[in-house]
């Protein structure tokens, strides 16, 4: 998917929280899955700390808590394949796009407003 593709859809879910630290990420993914299960066209935008959810090699927490990596792998089964991430945020953590667990499109700050405009409903988590 080229960076300039104007993604549109029914629902844009913006994920701004890192894995494990809170339930925000999981709740956001659940909202996306519910919408997709009902046939809505869902796009995900990983922004800020949320970009860390895409990093490969995640595992369970210190007490064995389930992470979200398996859920990310499951997105394709729900036909959620329109995935974007904030490339400045990813670079800010020292990661390169090749280190992501899933194919996602990096966007610059200026591409986020059109993404929001292209969706009927926007939920932030």
């Amino acid at each position: 998917m080229p960076t300039h593709a104007p993604a549109t859809g029914d629902l844009l879910v913006i994920l701004r929280h890192a894995p494990h630290g809170s339930s925000w990420l999981r709740e956001g993914l659940d909202a996306a899955l519910v919408a997709a299960a009902f046939g809505q066209a869902v796009t995900l935008l990983f922004q800020g700390d949320g970009v860390l959810s895409l990093v490969e090699g995640q595992g369970p927490g210190p007490l064995g808590q389930k992470g979200t990596a398996a859920t990310l792998d499951m997105l394709a089964m729900y036909d959620i394949e329109s995935l974007f991430y904030d490339q400045v945020a990813l670079a800010g953590f020292g990661f390169a796009p090749q280190q992501l667990q899933l194919p996602a499109t990096g966007v610059e700050a200026g591409a986020i407003a059109p993404l929001i405009a292209g969706h009927r409903l926007v939920l932030t988590f």
């Binding site: 659940d30 299960a37 398996a70 792998d73 499951m74 089964m77 729900y78 036909d79």
Partner: protein
């Protein structure tokens, strides 16, 4: 999601398998093919080879993703594993009437799918 409230027990051979109020297993590790057979008999159904291949697909889905699939992803997973002829809701509706994603998850000893009605 599997609830932890035990509603009743199902006798399968020597084992007593705890079920929640909706008939899902409390302890997923208690599942055996015989448990699936017993649950199906309660529903008045005999499991055929076509049922079993779907049960295998859904157990594989759970092992991979850590969640029971809703209907759409179940159809997709069945299609990927068993071919497009079987990856159709109609086929699954015939095998597991009413709500295939829920019924198949229950027989497969998995939690109730979270994302479906």
């Amino acid at each position: 999601m599997a609830s932890s409230e035990i509603d009743r027990y199902l006798s399968v051979g020597d084992a007593r398998v705890a079920l929640d109020p909706e008939g899902y297993l409390i302890d997923l590790s208690q599942w055996t093919p015989a448990v699936a057979e017993a649950l199906a008999v309660e529903d008045g159904r005999q499991l055929t080879a076509e049922h079993w291949e779907v049960i295998e697909v859904i157990r594989d889905f759970y092992a991979r993703y850590g969640a029971s699939p809703a209907m759409r992803p179940l159809v997709k997973a069945v299609g990927q594993a068993l071919g497009p002829e079987k990856g159709r809701s109609l086929h699954l509706m015939k095998l597991f009437p009413d709500s295939p994603a829920k019924v198949a998850a229950r027989l497969a000893g998995l939690p109730k799918p979270a994302n479906c009605l």
